[in-house]
């Protein structure tokens, strides 16, 4: 009886110890998303799991509210603070409303970064943008140029004339134009991110510029409408539609041949990079401050600007070889 008791106690104690050790060693990194059940974020979680596997001593807590509300995310943050997680990597529903809750998290020693959709600087240590305006502008022109070895006329189909994002990207495109010989941007038209207007504008482009070789649409609505217009006009193979789009919406047009390739961020890489950065902040190996260079495993390094923001990489290019696979994700 005495021996049995001893053995039992020993077993219990050692189990507790082992459990404790495992507990203490594994870093808990929370990947907080805008809402659960969104393909884009599920893919980011895939990337986070990949990073955790690579690192070995990381547990990923993939969580988020049911609806895309700031209040819901604050409840999630509070419960993560209570669990004493080591890091929170968040894609924010509200740039400002999360600041008090995240500040409190940081006061309690939790490393906080934002990714995809940022938090105001005082509420996080750094923000990871999927890409940068310069990289996006360059990629748009590059994708058009890659299929035009001899150069040619290219038109831009944008969103609204007042759309800040699109205007910045178009400026960046014009900046890099000298690097691509023979590529000539003939005009920019605006489809207002409406399918019917974008479609009509694309038709207009084909009529006005008979030598048109490519349409760049840096908007997910415009690119689909332009591809459809090209297909309907029987210009598939003669005019290539490219730009920024979603794989699920563009898979059909890639298959049809009206779009050879297009780009958008890769959520898997984003989740992976956010996890890697969080881990390095938790271990104290790196510090997030303006000008710092943080490593992101297989994604290389990210350099932080004055606001402690950094761009992960070039937008990820989707073509016939991979679009089907990603179409299932987002």
């Amino acid at each position: 009886m005495g021996i049995l008791k001893k053995v039992l106690v020993l077993a219990a104690v050692s189990t507790a110890l082992v459990a404790n050790v495992a507990h203490a060693e594994n870093k808990k990194i929370a990947l907080v998303v805008k809402a659960l059940g969104i393909g884009f974020f599920d893919a980011a979680n895939k990337g986070a799991q990949e990073a955790a596997k690579e690192l070995g001593d990381v547990d990923i807590i993939y969580t988020g509210p049911t609806d895309t509300t700031a209040e819901g995310q604050i409840e999630v943050i509070n419960s993560l603070v209570a669990q004493k997680v080591d890091a929170i990597a968040i894609s924010a529903n509200d740039k400002d409303a999360l600041v008090p809750a995240l500040k409190k998290a940081m006061e309690r020693g939790i490393k906080v970064i934002s990714w995809d959709s940022g938090v105001a600087p005082e509420g996080r240590m750094m923000h990871l943008n999927p890409s940068s305006n310069a990289l996006i502008g360059n990629m748009c022109v590059k994708m058009a140029a890659d299929n035009l070895p001899d150069g040619g006329d290219v038109a831009i189909l944008s969103a609204a004339a007042t759309a800040t994002n699109q205007n910045t990207w178009i400026e960046e495109m014009k900046k890099v134009l000298p690097n691509y010989k023979g590529i000539n941007i003939v005009t920019t038209v605006y489809g207002d991110d409406k399918t019917d207007k974008s479609y009509t504008e694309a038709q207009g482009l084909m009529k006005a510029y008979p030598n048109l070789k490519a349409i760049i649409a840096p908007t997910s609505v415009g690119i689909v409408a332009a591809a459809q217009a090209v297909e309907d006009a029987g210009m598939t193979g003669k005019i290539n539609v490219t730009g920024l789009g979603l794989p699920s919406e563009m898979a059909g047009h890639v298959k049809a041949g009206s779009s050879k390739s297009f780009a958008i961020w890769n959520p898997i890489d984003l989740g992976y990079a956010a996890t890697m950065i969080s881990y390095n902040l938790v271990t104290g190996k790196e510090e997030a401050k303006p000008g710092a260079e943080l490593s992101m495993g297989r994604m290389g390094k990210v350099k932080l600007d004055d606001n402690s923001e950094g761009a992960m990489a070039d937008p990820f290019v989707y073509d016939a070889s991979n679009v089907e696979e990603f179409a299932k994700i987002f």
Binding site: L36, G37, I61, T63, G64, P65, T66, D67, T69, A70, E71, G72, I74, E75, V76, N78, S79, L80, V81, A82, Q83, K84, D94, K95, D96, A97, V99, P100, A120
Partner: protein
């Protein structure tokens, strides 16, 4: 069992059919208390982080603001009406506070504007319901869109930020140790509404109206006036919740508190407020607030996805409502004087 004895008593005085102790044991509040204790114990058992004063303090923010709204809403529901515009009043109050802040308003002005907006919105609902005699569900569905719509017109996709540092006290401050300003407010408001509903003639009028507005009218109750005051109170509490939530978030967006009207209604109904009017107690609403807060926090600690929480709260609601009915059906014969 003893039909002769029973028939000698007036049938409608149901209270007398049970002894005092039996009534307490079988009351809705006791059932809720039991549920709350069970949830509390399950939480303690399932997460080592639950029983920590600061963690519990943080968790109270899950229900304090919604609770403030639910108390006033409970009175409105007992009177046989409903106010679905509460979350939109909150949004509009917060937006106008933000607008005033950009024009240099200080903390006292901000609070006054928040509460004042609530009162004005409540008055609009109250006038439409009591003076024009429109159904409150239609009126408040309309003002729900109207009030939040104004917020969207003012703010668009922008946000008001940069509230004065002192303003953070309401949503982020503590009165004593782990007891936050919001929690203390929650308790004070609960006491206020409990006294108003259960200890004043005004409270009895609310029940009377909820049970039979025509009879109440003929008994000398000024039904329209009481209803108007209830909508005023509902607006005022939404304004108070706006002050708290805006202070806690430190910013305003027109999407603030989206969907809270249903959460407040859920809280009231789970708390035993009869959705058809006429019965319910504030104590039940307090317990329901605690239960919903603990469930949200406890599941959060276990990283259970939010949708499971919604399912759980839904099931809880149906269960708590169904249990007394089922019990009544199972044991109808046991009732006697």
């Amino acid at each position: 069992m003893m039909p002769v004895e029973k028939s000698s008593e007036p049938r409608f005085v149901r209270d007398r059919l049970q002894g005092r102790s039996e009534r307490i044991v079988k009351s809705w509040e006791s059932l809720l208390l039991l549920v709350a204790v069970v949830i509390f114990l399950v939480n303690v058992w399932s997460s080592p982080y639950f029983l920590d004063p600061w963690n519990l303090s943080d968790a109270t923010f899950n229900f304090t603001e919604k609770g403030l709204i639910a108390f006033a809403l409970a009175l409105v529901i007992i009177s046989g009406e409903i106010d679905l515009s509460v979350a939109s009043i909150l949004a509009l109050a917060s937006t106008l506070m933000g607008l005033a802040m950009t024009h240099g308003a200080g903390v006292p002005e901000l609070v006054l504007i928040g509460l004042g907006t609530g009162l004005v919105c409540g008055a609009i609902n109250g006038l439409l319901v009591s003076r024009l005699g429109l159904p409150s569900i239609v009126v408040t569905i309309g003002t729900m869109s109207l009030f939040r719509g104004i917020s969207y017109i003012i703010l668009g996709d922008k946000a008001f930020t940069g509230y004065p540092a002192d303003f953070a006290w309401f949503g982020q401050g503590y009165v004593f140790w782990v007891f936050s300003v919001e929690l203390v407010l929650f308790v004070l408001v609960a006491v206020f509404f409990a006294v108003l509903l259960h200890m004043t003639s005004f409270g009895r009028m609310i029940y009377a109206i909820g049970n039979n507005p025509v009879a109440a009218q003929f008994s000398g109750v000024r039904v329209e006036r009481v209803k108007f005051i209830l909508f005023l109170l509902s607006g005022l509490m939404s304004g108070l919740a706006a002050v708290c939530l805006t202070s806690r978030l430190g910013s305003t967006r027109p999407s603030i508190a989206t969907g809270w009207e249903l959460e407040a209604v859920t809280m009231a109904v789970l708390g035993g407020i009869n959705i058809l009017g006429g019965s319910g107690r504030i104590g039940g609403v307090v317990l329901a607030a605690l239960i919903m807060g603990m469930v949200t926090f406890g599941f959060g600690l276990l990283n259970v996805p939010g949708i499971v929480m919604s399912i759980f709260v839904g099931l809880l609601l149906i269960l708590v409502i169904a249990i007394p009915k089922v019990l009544n059906r199972l044991a109808p014969a046991k009732k006697r004087g």
